[in-house]
Symmetry: C2
Subunit: 374 residues, 2 copies
């Protein structure tokens, strides 16, 4: 255990925060979990910039650059109106595929309208800690007066289209099975917000054309499998039944008709069954729930034996999970750590040097870095 001194002087704070490194022996590596920055308000989205620093969203409605050394920047200005309520607020952030030339970033957030709200996605050009030319490219329909199940991960497909994972809005879960709302769906749009012509329901009457897959509950994690190019998503079940799925065009993932979970406090959901013809089975599921959050497919040089493994954060489970994949299968699960840190993990990112960063969901949340123990 080493003592780590966070230099917060640059924030005008005359304090030295002493937090310790944590060493953990995992199946394949001894790792060190280093606190990089703390005091982030419920951080939600995390992505690395080409200069090595990080973009972090705070659910409370701010976005900041956190330097690789842990310096927390001032809020980035120019964000649209965001409703901060329950699970809602500023959520995910991702760089445009052409960020190096366009400086565009995409972000998801809770958008208020008509006495309700829903998830929206906008982009803006990041310039001098300010977003310019902010343009909305997606707005989940319909708006609902709810404070829960907003999704929403933003994942670029290799063809330049954007996947957005959208929650069922909790009270409206039955609409995860209908194609005339965006509730409980993965949608796919072009970078400018238009609808890709090859989306599965573009020619289906009364179906919203953005829909890619349906029958979802609340997906707070997703990533492209680097080998297959397909979208894998992580979905919160109710009390039990968290899932990993491969999200394929036009497929029905069964919520709320089939689930491995049950209602909070007990009792069956839907038909009380776990499988049904025409509905996809998960690749992997957890009972009880761990509350799956953001994840990556690891492809770095720091942990070569984790190549193509999923590294997944969990909220309620307070654990970082490693899932070994083989083609379209998950063949092994390791909980890299849980009690050693005892914090809700919201998002995970791989840095260009192959180390892994993650953020914790807390009013005083932190950014951590995982390296191999020297």
């Amino acid at each position: 255990m080493k003592i780590f001194h966070l230099g917060l002087l640059s924030l005008g704070l005359l304090a030295t925060v002493c937090v310790a490194d944590t060493d953990v022996k995992t199946e394949r590596y001894e790792i060190t979990i280093k606190p990089v920055a703390t005091g982030l308000q419920n951080p939600w989205g995390l992505t690395q910039l080409p200069d090595g620093n990080f973009l972090v969203t705070e659910r409370t409605g701010t976005m900041r650059i956190v330097s690789a050394a842990g310096k927390i920047g001032e809020p980035i200005s120019g964000l649209p109106t965001i409703e901060v309520k329950g699970q809602g607020g500023l959520l995910d952030v991702t760089l445009a595929p052409d960020f190096s030339t366009s400086q565009k970033i995409y972000f998801s957030y809770t958008e208020p309208a008509n006495g309700g709200n829903s998830t929206a996605v906008s982009y803006g050009v990041l310039k001098n800690n300010r977003l310019e030319n902010v343009t909305r490219v997606f707005s989940q329909q319909p708006k609902v007066d709810s404070s829960a199940h907003f999704g929403s991960r933003l994942i670029w497909r290799k063809d330049g289209t954007l996947f957005i994972t959208l929650g069922d809005r909790y009270e409206r879960k039955d609409e995860a099975q209908t194609l005339n709302t965006h509730h409980g769906k993965v949608v796919r749009i072009n970078a400018d917000g238009s609808v890709p012509k090859d989306n599965p329901f573009v020619n289906t009457p009364n179906a919203l054309p953005e829909i890619w897959s349906y029958g979802h509950r609340n997906m707070q994690g997703g990533a492209i499998n680097p080998t297959t190019g397909e979208l894998w998503s992580g979905e919160h079940g109710p009390q039990g039944g968290d899932e990993i799925n491969i999200d394929r065009a036009g497929k029905n993932y069964g919520w709320p008709v089939i689930t491995y979970g049950e209602n909070y406090g007990g009792g069956k959901i839907g038909d009380g069954i776990t499988s049904k013809s025409g509905m996809e089975q998960p690749l992997h599921y957890w009972v009880p729930s761990i509350a799956t959050a953001g994840f990556i497919f690891y492809t770095g040089s720091q942990f070569p034996e984790w190549n193509n493994n999923i590294i997944l954060g969990a909220l309620n489970g307070k654990t970082l999970v490693r899932l070994v994949t083989d083609g379209d299968k998950i063949i092994h699960e390791e909980r890299l750590f849980s009690k050693e840190l005892d914090q809700r993990i919201r998002s995970v990112a791989q840095a260009t040097d192959g180390t892994i960063y993650f953020i914790t969901d807390d009013p005083k949340g932190s950014l951590y870095r995982i390296t191999r123990k020297p």
Copy 2:
């Protein structure tokens, strides 16, 4: 918890053993684990007879009928010479597919010869607690002076052929990769010991024609998937790397070239890699090892939500594991219990009434029954 009185008077023992039922709340059911009989010497094989009683082998070289009520019978006579040494002795037992007319049972055991030993399989006709017309149908080649890694589960394929899982004999692990020995192989024979004409290597020069698949370490569990008809096997890795595989004709499962385990005490095995072209990946694996033993695919009426799930015993892990399958995938793992019982589990059997029986590996091992808690 209820107190259960074992009636051992019929054995001439004037003792009343009081052992308790154990109730466990699992993900899907509250179950009760009831001791049925105790005092079995390292029981290894377990199968139910049509009359509801059980055939149990003891590794120490005896086979007995244990009644459904828990009465332990006298040793069945007529067994061949068995070498009881290390992991060797009398091992698995299974009824012939035509048992109801032939009364034939098949059993595997350690056969001494030429200063060494190996796994052999014989059948006999069970009559009045005696085996008659005992006939050897398989003898693993070559004989080796070793006390370890004998396999050996006996599993009937739907076509009436018999799979035998065979260990690598520990000191001879490299021969799991060569086709001129039976070390580290699954073999397939006809009920009379002859070689099925469609075995994968019958036309391969210098290959033993009984071989079905190779590159195995020590498989102590196996069962036919009732949906697909294929053989699934459970394999002991070294320190880490226990596996579940689907054993397909002619396939190479990689041992000792690839493994997710490492040597006892640490250090790489073989090439120190986990995958290689031409070698199969496991469906599921455990690090650290749980020491996978016998398992079934559950198909009974007592636990309908466990339909087609694997129920697998573990020795070192002292746990009973439930694996949820979906086609050729394993999508969820539950440890039904471990510390609640704290005993090494060797074999599992499904009774005709849908309850589950298992035996524990101990010089005073027990037969247990799992029912739904009323």
